[in-house]
Symmetry: C2
Subunit: 420 residues, 2 copies
Amino acid sequence: MALIVQKYGGTSVGTTDRIKNVARRVARFHREGHQLVVVVSAMSGETNRLLALAKELSANPNPRELDVVAATGEQVTIGLLAIALEEMGFKARSYTGGQVRILTDNAFTKARILSIDEQNMRADLEAGTIVIVAGFQGVDAEENITTLGRGGSDTSGVALAAALKADECQIYTDVDGVYTTDPRIVPEARRLDTVTFEEMLEMASLGSKVLQIRSVEFAGKYQVKLRVLSSLEDPMVTSRGTLITFEEDHSMEQAIISGIAFTRDEAKISVMGVEDKPGIAYAILGPVAAANIDVDMIVQNIGASGHTDFSFTVNRSEYQKALDVLARERGKVFKAREIIGDSKICKVSVVGIGMRSHVGLASKMFKSLADEGINIQMISTSEIKISVVIDEKYLELAVRVLHKTFELDKPPVPIAGSAV
Amino acid sequence: MALIVQKYGGTSVGTTDRIKNVARRVARFHREGHQLVVVVSAMSGETNRLLALAKELSANPNPRELDVVAATGEQVTIGLLAIALEEMGFKARSYTGGQVRILTDNAFTKARILSIDEQNMRADLEAGTIVIVAGFQGVDAEENITTLGRGGSDTSGVALAAALKADECQIYTDVDGVYTTDPRIVPEARRLDTVTFEEMLEMASLGSKVLQIRSVEFAGKYQVKLRVLSSLEDPMVTSRGTLITFEEDHSMEQAIISGIAFTRDEAKISVMGVEDKPGIAYAILGPVAAANIDVDMIVQNIGASGHTDFSFTVNRSEYQKALDVLARERGKVFKAREIIGDSKICKVSVVGIGMRSHVGLASKMFKSLADEGINIQMISTSEIKISVVIDEKYLELAVRVLHKTFELDKPPVPIAGSAV
């Protein structure tokens, strides 16, 4: 018997028929003897509907009250799922964030969880009751309703698993696991049985958006065993999904490269011929950050004759805004020969925990791109990934070539004697 | 400066434009220097939508969970109204039933209010904040969400007014007050400036459904000054509506008859030739009540030769069900010569606190009906009303005739020296 936290997203509970399907799956696990805590999102479209109502009343709605409105989406789902389970003859009990007591700070619309009182849930579980908790929400110390921000239901699930010391936290979504890359681009893409937290973080932030990044960080911090599964499969089928593991547990059977991640919708900006002196990066990026523009890759080459070129990427939707900011500040906080940009680029990354101890991977990557005539515009590396910026028209080609180069279509060879 | 509780129903907050209108009205009272507590219902149609979702999952949804789902309707409205007021530059703060702490029993879907903690609201009011409270809901002692049942928002408004010792509780609805009868039937129908609680109770239960009965009882018990007003008028206009008063305060200026109430959709059933012995009423009505059928008028004539005729009225939608129950029980728990019924009847009532001390009103009523050739099928009287059952085709005629007979189109003559 295990204590399992399951989290279902908006699509998985988007209709009453789908809620019935979730109830069947929950019931199956319960029948197998497991204790179950089920975290749910709002029915798909509901949160947007509620926020749109608020926007009709104010361009900038009071955040405390916006949370009061938004939190109702999940509250509807918990009640409906409990009704479905009770109808099937199971004991079920719904909890709002406040009823659990998921205590958060008071940063309305993007609150952070401070603590979770697991007493009542624990008593319910011991009594054989299925516990259903509203994701995405909590209360602050003054009993104000708070929400965790978009995608916060994943975080709720992981945080509850941590608080309850659950054996596993299962995140049900519309894909059946984490893949070596997007199967729509590479049909040979393979579902990974396991992926490390660090790889997952890179995969998520690089565009393979299966899980909300914060929830993965949270899982890493509290060592929660996290599994990504599909809610669209037959609820009576046991599928394995992808287990997100701690590096230490799996280093022996780790493939060198786990996947190829990518991001469309990037844009790059280069500030050419700036003075090569301390503080120049801040002089350029400070105003950009102040304008609330997120910067992704940042590259600065070694300069010659006291000048250097400074490049960075931003989301394409913020490209023009970033150019405007730089045009405004140029000559004031920094000098530059020229500011140029390109909004037709993409980023492709090779991700793998194994690359830490393997040299030559970068040159292998660059060679296979060169063989296809793909020019690399920017390069950035970390301990577990190598990212390149290329012309967006080569995205699919680059992903396919790299997937093949690193033999991701073939399962990793387990090292003799290690557990799979 | 007064402390005013305002309650707005579902139609009044049915769209964001209407919510803006409510905000404008609230703001006007606030600008005039009043302290305001605003109680709101769910946006019109929303409660039905939520209950329909639950019904898709279970014919008989778990009541605790049904309340979790249903309570979200009002929660959305409080947040939206607070957002609208904040947008206009006012300080506003929303409260769910649980946040106020409106403590109820645990009779889910039809809970009763036990107590209200007014501390936080009071502090907000003192600080110049407009307080917005979700109607229809509370929490039980275990923090479970409860609802007060259909129309419960009126009760929430009155209960809050009682707890806060408010100067007035204003119920905004789609009519601008209580009328002597339905203006759609009698164009000369006149809005009453005042009506007593007892009359209001009779008017409401007899079909002039302006207010939920329970809220009027509650107001009477706690001596809350209740005013019915229209939310559809220009929010900048001050209208007086109808004040619901305590008999003692207004006996001097009270008209004898206040209004003509009526109910369509009634049906009558007569059980003929039953034994005239103790317990016979229970023998007949017990099984009807056990089948959850509400009985309205009950008439039993003095019997002759040990037998009597027993008649009662039910809602037309339950007519056949009631007949079936009696057919099943006849010969078992009671004997009867014949059971007959008529589903084409209606009830018309003359209501007035003044009739207690005036004789001859009943005969005046019966004569004016007889003059029009309207046959009276059943009669029932209380201290403040006389009700008759007649053929439904005469409803409009009877109401018009009685309205004229009792000169309800003319304002009551104030007794010299009394305050109006």
